[in-house]
């Protein structure tokens, strides 16, 4: 069929060459070239009319999840490709309204005060990115990106029991290059007169590159720039994968299934229509739902004591944030304060509003089938808030919301890298509340892993799936 199509158009154009004006020749050749390219296999041409909201039939890299991590990976993949249109990237997002997405429901903080050097470096690299965000993400003729970054710093308080951990973390952070300072209770009181230093033995304050920003602005900046660079966006849900299996036998005689994803089935919202997208690589950046996406590939569904029986240990955990109003509160100078009891709060806007939250105990984890807020839970937070900041004894809860952490039940740190048995599925998930602040650096690391074959700027091999197979958790000490 394509031969006839090409030869008949050739004949027509040859005829027109003799009769038509000479300025039309190059446009004729161009049209001919385009038609020939369409006729080649691998192009998007189909004889049938296509629903334009469907994704393309073929893509090189399919990113499952359109949150900040997914779009950051899409941007960096396009940023690092060597030639124009070198990789075709498709981002599949289930919910165009982002109503349940963890990105937009986040408190938006960024800090370097971690205990793992990898986390510290991720935050520092992300802060550097955000400082120069317009060099990276500005689009011609469009507004510059304004993250509304508040440079207020994080203030961690330690009791007697955990002060030694804070000191060790301080030296790790300093060694990694983070600008952090330790404060004694007297210095703390001098700096923040509104604090009650009762029970506080040591405080750690971030001097630079710490604060909070607007997550929606960052997400949209990544998305806008990535789309301008040619990333395809599709609103649909990945419901399954078609894969080929290659069974190999180990030296001991056990059979191991190596799977390779061939097609990702993307189903349209509110419809039975779906498009199998032929792809080379799938990136699982689905956040709280990454565990489900991994299950579609059979990860975790194998026999108990084999590698294929180890599931991706990421599940959604609901966290509440309460907006409170207190007219006599700390004011503009409030840092993002994290108390040793697990309660945290920060200023929101300039009208005397603050947002506060707390991580619940393991036994009290709320159920995750919806995003309803449990207002009773605030009664656990208030006493700690009022104890720490006496001005908060009279406050009024204005509103509240809930969001999901993509909680890594194994060690609460991200999982970055390839799965050992599914050779073309990459993970970038499980950040347990730190995904937003690490997203620019994670995107760059994933792009390096996919396009260059290994990590180049930051070595995140500590976050690979291997530690889950060997059951060696890398834990953050003092997390919130």
């Amino acid at each position: 069929m394509w031969l006839e199509c090409v030869s008949s158009s050739c004949k027509r154009k040859a005829l027109m060459l003799w009769t038509g004006p000479t300025s039309g020749i190059s446009s004729l050749f161009k049209a001919f070239r385009e038609k020939a390219a369409d006729a080649m296999p691998g192009s998007d041409w189909t004889p049938f009319e296509k629903n334009s909201s469907l994704p393309p039939e073929r893509a090189d890299i399919v990113i499952v999840g359109g949150g900040v991590v997914g779009w950051s990976i899409a941007y960096w993949l396009k940023q690092k490709e060597m030639i124009r249109d070198g990789v075709r990237v498709l981002v599949v997002e289930r919910d165009p309204t982002y109503s349940q997405a963890s990105t937009v429901l986040s408190a938006g903080g960024i800090r370097q005060q971690f205990s793992l050097p990898e986390n510290i470096h991720l935050s520092m690299a992300s802060a550097d990115f955000m400082r120069n965000i317009n060099e990276h993400l500005s689009v011609l003729n469009d507004d510059p990106v304004d993250l509304q970054f508040n440079h207020s710093g994080y203030l961690f308080l330690a009791s007697e029991k955990v002060a030694h951990i804070m000191e060790e973390n301080y030296s790790t952070q300093r060694y990694a290059g983070a600008k952090v300072s330790l404060l004694s209770p007297t210095q703390l009181k001098e700096k923040c007169p509104w604090i009650n230093t009762d029970g506080v033995v040591l405080a750690s304050y971030g001097l630079e590159n710490e604060g909070w920003f607007d997550p929606w602005m960052l997400l949209n900046a990544f998305r806008r720039k990535a789309i301008s660079m040619g990333v395809y966006q599709c609103f649909g849900e990945v419901t399954g994968f078609s894969y080929t299996t290659n069974t190999m036998t180990t030296a001991e005689g056990d059979k191991v299934d190596f799977r390779r994803i061939k097609y990702a089935n993307v189903q349209m919202p509110n419809s039975l229509e779906y498009q199998p997208v032929e792809c080379a690589i799938v990136v699982n950046a689905a956040g709280a739902l990454s565990g489900k996406v991994a299950e579609m590939m059979g990860i975790g569904l194998g026999p108990k004591d084999t590698i294929s029986g180890i599931p991706l240990p990421v599940e959604p955990r609901k966290r509440f944030i309460y907006v409170v109003h207190c007219p006599n509160g700390p004011g503009l100078d409030t840092p993002f304060l994290v108390d040793y009891s697990g309660v945290y709060f920060r200023r929101e806007g300039l009208g005397g509003n603050y947002i506060a939250g707390m991580s619940p105990e393991e036994e009290e984890e709320p159920e995750t089938n919806n995003l309803e807020v449990d207002h009773q839970f605030f009664q656990n937070i208030w006493p700690h808030l009022a104890h720490r900041v006496p001005a908060f004894e009279c406050l009024k809860v204005k509103s509240a919301w809930a969001g999901f952490y993509d909680y890594n039940t194994f060690d609460q740190n991200g999982i970055v890298g390839m799965h050992p048995l599914v050779n073309n599925m990459f993970f970038a998930t499980g950040f347990s509340g730190h995904g937003l602040q690490h997203s620019p650096a994670i995107g760059r690391a994933m792009a390096e892993l996919i396009l260059d074959g290994g990590f180049k700027t930051l070595d995140l091999s500590a976050f690979s799936f291997k530690r889950i197979m060997t059951k060696e958790p890398i834990l953050e000490r003092n997390i919130v």
């Binding site: 509304q148 508040n150 440079h151 207020s152 503009l332 200023r347 300039l350």
Partner: protein, 163 residues
């Protein structure tokens, strides 16, 4: 003899001007200026435009003249540290601040009218938190509330500025 700062090398610094101030080991100040012209373009322009700095105990400012040349009189005061810096109306930015970070005795800083001074620049001023007394950030269009939150780290400072 007046020379343009762009021709400064470490060797030429060996020629000294004898003066009434006590002789002491080379100060951070001269190192600073050598850094300035060798490293960052921001600071080269700083020295060649109307930028000024003032030493402790001196009451006159070192500034470049109309032709952009900078006098070598500051070399008379090797051991003193810079107290007041006025980099108003220049293109100084976050990276340019690198050159000022060694000044431990800085008391006054004026960045009025600098178009590139933004919130990240302000967040880096914690380096001067113990000594900075006056900060002028008037007419900096890129500063917002987020940057003002960073100024809480400066303890003794009396800030004035307007958008």
């Amino acid at each position: 003899m007046r020379r343009s700062c762009r021709q400064v090398t470490l060797l030429s610094a060996a020629s000294r001007y004898w003066s009434s101030s006590p002789v002491a080991p080379p100060s951070k100040q001269s190192r600073l200026l050598l850094f300035l012209s060798q490293r960052f373009h921001d600071i080269e322009t700083l020295l060649s435009w109307s930028s000024w700095f003032k030493n402790r105990g001196q009451s006159e400012w070192f500034r470049s003249d109309r032709r952009g040349k900078f006098s070598w009189d500051f070399m008379n005061h090797r051991d003193t540290s810079i107290e007041e810096v006025d980099v108003g109306n220049t293109l100084i930015n976050y990276t340019g601040l690198e050159n000022l970070v060694k000044q431990r005795g800085l008391r006054t800083l004026s960045v009025s009218g600098c178009a590139e001074v933004d919130d990240w620049f302000l967040s880096r001023l914690y380096i001067f938190q113990d000594t900075l007394e006056e900060l002028d950030i008037s007419n900096c269009p890129r500063i917002s509330v987020g940057g003002l939150a960073a100024l809480q780290k400066l303890r003794y400072t009396d800030q004035h500025g307007r958008k």
